[in-house]
Symmetry: C2
Subunit: 146 residues, 2 copies
């Protein structure tokens, strides 16, 4: 992600917004701040996970499987329902996690098209290792913002 380093001043936004007659300056300013903050935090998280040979998407995949109550595995389509990412990207990233040994795949007894994806022991270890720093990165960023 990327975004403006310097947001437009409220005056500049007003120059566009009030001329056009849509929305109000405060709302637009708030949205632009949000986008810039999200971009910056996104970069910090990307860098953090990269240092652990992961990506935000890989982390989220491990996370949604791990946090599932009652079961310890999910289908690819179920992961897709939980993550707002396209099927092919999810497929590719799951393939990469399988290759790296963080996930295992087994046939779904209920549907021969599908497979069940579960964390390996190593996957659980990696997730546990990476979680504190994830929340710490978020917390530190929010602290500096306020």
């Amino acid at each position: 992600m990327f975004f403006l380093r310097e947001l437009p001043t409220e005056m500049m936004i007003d120059g566009y917004v009030s001329k056009i007659g849509v929305g109000d300056v405060d709302t637009v300013s708030r949205a632009l701040s949000m986008m810039r903050d999200a971009s910056q935090l996104g970069r910090l998280l990307d860098a953090y996970f990269a240092r652990h040979n992961l990506s935000v998407l890989k982390f989220h995949i491990l996370m949604v499987i791990d946090r599932e109550p009652d079961v310890d595995s999910l289908r690819q389509s179920e992961i897709n329902q939980r993550l707002d990412v396209s099927k092919p990207v999810l497929h590719r990233t799951v393939a990469s996690l399988l290759k790296e040994g963080l996930l295992v795949r087994s046939d779904d007894p209920a549907d021969s098209r599908a497979h069940l994806l579960a964390l390996t022991h190593q996957g659980q270890t990696v997730l546990a290792d990476v979680l504190p720093g994830h929340f710490e990165t978020i917390s530190n960023f929010m602290k500096e913002k306020s």
Copy 2:
């Protein structure tokens, strides 16, 4: 960009955060909401600009040149100071805008390495056409959120 469709409940976050002892649940919840909102608004803006044969980055490039006081052109490096994007991506995207006729390039008399990038008439027209919908997209999104 992508993100979790359903955020973890505060209870789940607490399960991680308080165990780990970094940050607090509210701050982390707020950050995750922000990331999801930014992802969703980002998708809306991507789709909006795509309908106008643009991208968010192309729009921002046009915008920062247009909003510059006193001058009507910028160097690539000056655009880079204003946008949080890498040099090669900016270069490629500027090249595309030149090819599409939205920007023109002239030599910088002060530095033979550099060039000045200015909006063409068509570039100004496109920017003006696209601005209202941009702010409208943002305003509508923020309204639905609240």
